[in-house]
C-alpha cells in the first residue's frame, strides 16, 4: 500500500509539497500526542498520527524520516510550520477525523503497529 493510496482512501488534505507518494510505502503506524514518546516509539518511514500541530512535530518527522505525519481532529499547523516541513522534506497531512478513526482506517488498509 502506497502513501498515495492512504491519502486517497482517508481523504487526507496535503499541506506540504507534492511528492512521489505512489512510490512510497509506509513501514508502520504510530499514534501519540506526547512527542517525547513518539521520538522513542515511532519507526523509520512510519506514519504518525497526532493532534499536535506544533512545529516540533516537523523536527521529529525529519529525525525519524517518517513517511508522513497525519494531523487529526482538524488541528492546523501555522504557515511557518508548513514552510519548515517543506524545507525538511516532511509530509504533513490533515483531517478533521479523530485519531482513533484514522488509526482504524489505516489498520483496515493493512498498516500495522511497530
Amino acid at each position: 500500500m502506497t502513501l498515495q493510496d492512504i491519502i486517497d482512501q482517508l481523504d487526507l488534505k496535503l499541506l506540504t509539497d507534492q511528492r512521489d507518494f505512489d512510490q512510497m510505502t509506509p513501514s508502520s503506524g504510530y499514534a501519540s500526542d506526547l512527542l517525547s514518546c513518539v521520538m522513542a516509539g515511532a519507526r523509520n518511514r512510519g506514519i504518525w498520527i497526532t493532534l499536535q500541530a506544533h512545529s516540533n512535530v516537523v523536527a521529529i518527522g525529519a529525525l525519524l524520516e517518517l513517511s508522513a505525519i497525519i494531523i487529526s481532529e482538524g488541528a492546523t499547523p501555522d504557515l511557518d510550520t508548513i514552510a519548515k516541513a517543506n524545507e525538511e522534506g516532511v509530509t504533513l497531512l490533515v483531517t478533521d477525523k479523530p485519531t482513533f478513526y484514522v488509526a482504524g482506517k489505516l489498520w483496515e488498509l493493512g498498516l500495522r503497529a511497530v
Partner: protein, 240 residues
C-alpha cells in the same frame, strides 16, 4: 504556588496561611500561579500588606499542547489583561466538584466569596507560541513549568524545548537537582533554571531560588536569572 481556586490545592492554601508560612520560612518573594486563574492573587497580596513578603501575580497556564507554563507579571492590571485572553480561550465546561475538587475564591482573611464555576484544569485554546508572545508583549515572563515531569511538561509533550521560541528560563520540579536535570535533559544547559515546588500544600514550600535583586519585580528577576548587571540567582540545595 497554588491557592484553593486550583481544585487540586489543599484547603489550607488560603491567603493568611500562605503569607504566614512564607514568612515563617524566611521566604520574601512568592508568585501565586493557579491553573488558568488569577482570582485569588489580590487577596494574597492584601494578606501580605505590611509584611516583608512580596506576592507577584502569576498563572500556571495550560496551553493547547497541554504544556504547563508559568506566566509572571508585576501588576494586577497586567494579569487581568492576560486573564481576559485566557478566559476567551477556555472551553465552557463546568467544574465537577466531586471529581476535580472545589475552586474557591476568597478574600484576604480567607473568607469565602464565591465558587469558580468553570473548570480551570483544562487547556486554553492558546498555542505555546501565542502564549509566549502575548505574555512578553504585556511585559510578563514565561517560564515553562516542571519541564522534567512526565506529564503536562514542555519536554514530555513537545519532545524538546522549541529553539525558535524566545524562552530564557525553565522550571524544574522539586524531585531532582539542577545537575541531575541537566544530565538527563542536555538542552537545559542552555537555559537559566529555577526550581519550585509546584506548591499545593503548606508543607511543600521550598524557597529554593535565591535572587540578588535591587528590588522585587519581573525586570529584576530576568536580570538575575541571566546574571546581568550585578544581579544573580542560585538554586539552594535542600533535602525534603
Amino acid at each position: 504556588m497554588h491557592t484553593v481556586v486550583s481544585p487540586c490545592a489543599a484547603v489550607e492554601m488560603i491567603p493568611p496561611l500562605i503569607v504566614h508560612e512564607a514568612i515563617e520560612r524566611g521566604i520574601n518573594l512568592i508568585a501565586i500561579t493557579d491553573h488558568n486563574s488569577s482570582a485569588n492573587i489580590a487577596a494574597v497580596q492584601k494578606a501580605a500588606l505590611g509584611t516583608e513578603l512580596t506576592v507577584l501575580p502569576g498563572m500556571e497556564l495550560q496551553t493547547r499542547e497541554e504544556v504547563h507554563v508559568l506566566c509572571l507579571f508585576d501588576t494586577l492590571e497586567q494579569i487581568e489583561t492576560w486573564q481576559a485572553e485566557v478566559d476567551a480561550r477556555l472551553p465552557d465546561i463546568q467544574n465537577n466538584v466531586d471529581y476535580f475538587g472545589e475552586q474557591f475564591v476568597l478574600d484576604e482573611s480567607g473568607e469565602f466569596i464565591r465558587r469558580e464555576a468553570r473548570l480551570l484544569i483544562t487547556s486554553a485554546n492558546l498555542t505555546l507560541k501565542e502564549s509566549v508572545e502575548c505574555v512578553n508583549r504585556l511585559g510578563g515572563l514565561v517560564i515553562p513549568a516542571h519541564v522534567n515531569r512526565r506529564a503536562f511538561s514542555l519536554i514530555a509533550n513537545l519532545g524538546f524545548v522549541p529553539p525558535d521560541l524566545p524562552l530564557e528560563v525553565l522550571e524544574i520540579s522539586r524531585h531532582l537537582s539542577p545537575q541531575a536535570a541537566c544530565d538527563t535533559f542536555h538542552q537545559l544547559k542552555n537555559y537559566a533554571l529555577i526550581q519550585s515546588g509546584d506548591v499545593h500544600r503548606l508543607k511543600e514550600f521550598m524557597g529554593a531560588n535565591v535572587f540578588r535583586l535591587a528590588g522585587p519585580g519581573i525586570a529584576e528577576i530576568k536580570k538575575a536569572l541571566l546574571n546581568q548587571a550585578g544581579r544573580s540567582s542560585t538554586i539552594r540545595s535542600f533535602s525534603n
